[in-house]
């Protein structure tokens, strides 16, 4: 989706266990949900 929007040089950081220990952990585990950092650049 980032590339489709015109961005380039896309980087994705390692997963972070954002919901671990919170009440949303069960849903997060069910669907393998983690937080990620993303970096992309507008050409130019």
């Amino acid at each position: 989706m980032l590339l489709d929007s015109g961005f380039e040089d896309v980087q994705i950081g390692p997963p972070v266990d954002t919901f671990g220990g919170a009440s949303g952990e069960t849903n997060a585990r069910q669907f393998g949900v983690y937080g990620y950092a993303f970096l992309a650049r507008k050409p130019g």
Binding site: D17, S23, F38, K42
Partner: protein, 201 residues
Amino acid sequence: MQEESQVNSDELRAQVKEKYRAVAVAPDAEYHFHTGRPLAARLGYDSAITDSLSDAAVESFAGVGNPFSLRALQQGEKIVDAGSGSGFDCFVAATLVGDQGQVVGVDMTEEMLTKSRATAVALGADNIDIREGLLEELPLQDAWADVVISNGVINLCSDKQRAFAEIFRVLKPGGHLQFADIANSEPVPQSAINNIDLWTS
């Protein structure tokens, strides 16, 4: 991030507002996600910056990752925080870009706007401007920003392609988008994607 769905945009937006209105006014209540200083530590924020901020600046933070982890902001840069909430990432960004930099936070939830504006005044952060708006219609001119940051908000937009197009528009050529969001490694059934409750909880 989740695939595009048939979720009603207005209904989703209303539920997101309701959820984050609560986080603004009752930051110590229990939510399905972590908040505040414990969350900032969990996500690897620079403790020297977090510790320098007031409780009001940090307590309603509800991000899902660290948008500063893959690239350091530079002194003097102009930053847009798309979905700025209570302003925590704005305050971190303002610290990093310094007095010569500028930070514009954009959010749609009245209680978050009120809280972040009050905190910016209390901190004496003259380089922060909080504006009401949507990610899909950012209240900024073309090519204004060196960097757009966002944290756990794009995932809550039903039209992510439009949100990315707006971010692309407000970035200068060569500018960076650095954001954090959730992504799933296991397939999510269509019934769950269409369930608004699961988008916000």
